[in-house]
């Protein structure tokens, strides 16, 4: 589904702030793979996701989604294949627009936008049903401005928007990191449910080792812009936090803390 080949990316090349963020990463995701990504700060996790999403181009290497080379495709065109949830709950939704308007924007991802109505009454019914699944009572607040929602509600809504039109690839960039533990657990549970239900190919970054172990069928660890471990199948199923700590030299404070 996703094929990444020899990806390199250096920020601020030739300056004192030069940072080699992606140092030859190759990765293949099979259809339906749910891959969790862990690694310390600056390991290159977000850079990898942003490269796949097309936020910035790689220095070299290729990105192929569902057989199509998208390396040179701009971000908004790649959105046809990709659903995204960001770390910042403010980033995935338009605060000044209503819940239904946000959903209607997501419903048209990958389509050309013309002079048809921006939202139809048939859609509204569908949105109500989908919102009800979240269990947050949003289905009765279709016209409320998203800016009035809490961070957790906004993340749940963003998740719904990312999966409203089944994406070929779902990218989750630490999407629960900014939430309180209870809300984070709830959003993660909803994520698991939707990914399983729609059999979505998913790449999920997390700082929480336990979450990385508990979810998905494959775990990737990154360090210094490279993939340093790729655990799948039975090994992944039997993995414990202690295994990870023992097996790999984990220096990063934040990773230890979130354990």
């Amino acid at each position: 589904m996703l094929e990444v080949r020899d990806l390199y990316k250096t920020f601020n090349a030739g300056t004192i702030n030069e940072k080699r963020a992606m140092n030859g990463v190759s990765l293949t995701l099979e259809d339906g793979d749910f891959v969790t990504v862990i690694g310390g700060n600056g390991a290159g996790k977000s850079t990898l996701l942003n490269l796949v999403a097309g936020v910035f181009p790689p220095d070299s290497g290729t990105i192929t989604i569902d057989g199509q080379n998208v390396t040179k495709l701009p971000e908004h065109k790649r959105a046809k294949f990709i659903g995204r949830v960001f770390q910042d709950p403010m980033m995935g939704t338009a605060a000044t627009m209503g819940i239904e308007e946000n959903l209607a924007l997501a419903f048209r991802r990958g389509q050309s936008r013309g002079l048809r109505y921006g939202i139809t009454s048939a859609e509204r019914k569908q949105y109500q049903e989908k919102l009800a699944i979240l269990g947050l009572g949003l289905e009765d607040r279709l016209t409320s401005k998203v800016g009035l929602l809490s961070g957790g509600q906004r993340q749940a809504l963003t998740l719904l928007m990312a999966t409203l039109k089944k994406p070929k690839l779902l990218l989750l960039d630490e999407h629960t990191a900014a939430l309180d533990p209870k809300t984070a657990a709830k959003v993660l549970e909803t994520t698991e449910r939707i990914v399983r239900r729609d059999k979505l190919t998913t790449l999920m970054i997390t700082h929480n080792m336990r979450d990385a172990i508990a979810h998905g069928n494959r775990l990737i660890m990154m360090d210094g812009g490279q993939i340093v471990a790729d655990i799948r199948g039975e090994e992944k199923q039997n993995l414990t936090v202690q295994d990870l700590l023992d097996k790999f030299h984990v220096e990063n404070d934040r990773m230890l803390l979130s354990e």
Binding site: A79, R84, A94, L105, R108, R109, G110, G114, G118, M161
Partner: protein, 315 residues
């Protein structure tokens, strides 16, 4: 008594000017409020609209056709700013200033087409000789010649069309671009194209306003757009401050910009009669806009401080 009488006497004129500038204010609303861009092109494109309309009308062309050409000229100006901003990566404010500056030279040239001079700073439109859509001459007459009649129809039709447009898929994409670019791109919206489109539409409206103003006041001048952005912002902000709590619907929000523009001109008439010179108005406009833009900021600061004090007391 004399004061009040002359003030009331000036009210129809204030309404006429307010309505003509109101169309411009709606254009500013689109960039400033919807796209979140302060577009300084408008100072130039307003005069461009006036120049193009005056040029063709003075040659005896149909005034509706002249109006259309003026709008197209304004849209082109918006397109240039949009491309400077998106394709060339120039910050929006600077892109607007560049286009505005360039338009000054262009407007002088436009008004001199079909004349012996190389450049021309004014172009008169005599209502006696020419077919004009609106003229301040008839502002007190109770018939269809009264410019208020046509200006109100213009305003209503424009707001209706914009209301429809911003409800379409494309209009929603434009609003999403202004609200949150990262989200818009993640949902497959070409934000660059949306910004260009918004600037094109906005400057088309501004040029339309300029074309109507030139006819209304009987001449087009190269300076007619100076400070236009401030007047437009003043109208938008006055409308929001006075009607923001009542007007929630999008069409009504656009209307509040027009009403803000009318109020602006009524206040100006009032202040003029207090003895200020018309040249003092720019100072006054700047002060009004600066004040109204500061209030939300001060409010935010003030309220956070009180909360902190209370928290300290509770601790």
């Amino acid at each position: 008594m004399d004061f009040l009488l002359s003030f009331f006497n000036s009210l129809p004129g204030a309404f006429g000017q307010g309505l003509a500038w109101g169309i411009m204010a709606v254009g500013v609303y689109i960039t400033f409020r919807i796209l979140d861009i302060a577009d300084l092109t408008v100072d130039g494109s307003l005069a461009t609209g006036g120049a193009v309309a005056a040029l063709f009308i003075s040659q005896g062309w149909n005034p509706w056709l002249a109006l259309l050409l003026a709008v197209i000229a304004g849209m082109l100006a918006g397109l240039i700013t949009g491309l400077l901003h998106t394709a060339c990566g120039i910050p929006a404010i600077l892109a607007g200033i560049l286009t505005q500056l360039a338009l000054y030279s262009i407007n002088l040239r436009i008004m001199a087409v079909w004349s012996d001079a190389k450049t021309k700073a004014t172009l008169a439109l005599s209502v006696d000789r020419l077919d004009l859509l609106v003229s301040s001459r008839y502002i007190r007459e109770l018939n269809l010649n009264n410019p208020l009649f046509l200006l109100v129809i213009f305003t209503v039709v424009l707001i209706a069309v914009l209301y429809w447009f911003f409800g379409t898929e494309l209009g929603c994409a434009l609003r999403a671009t202004g609200a949150n670019q990262a989200m818009a791109r993640a949902q497959g919206i070409n934000t660059s194209w949306c910004k260009v489109l918004g600037l094109v539409v906005s400057n088309g409206l501004v040029a339309m306003s300029g074309a109507l103003l030139a006819q209304y006041q009987g001449s087009s001048t190269v300076d007619m757009g100076r400070g236009a952005i401030v007047i437009g912002l003043a109208a938008v902000i006055i409308g929001e401050v006075l009607l923001g709590k009542v007007f929630r619907n999008f069409a009504l929000k656009l209307l509040s910009a027009v009403i803000g523009s009318i109020i602006y001109y009524i206040v100006l008439q009032f202040v003029l009669r207090l003895g200020l010179e018309s040249t003092d108005l720019k100072l006054l406009s700047a002060v009004v806009v600066a004040l109204f833009l500061s209030i939300p900021y001060w409010k935010g600061k003030y309220f956070t401080k009180t909360v902190r004090k209370e928290a300290a007391r509770n601790a």
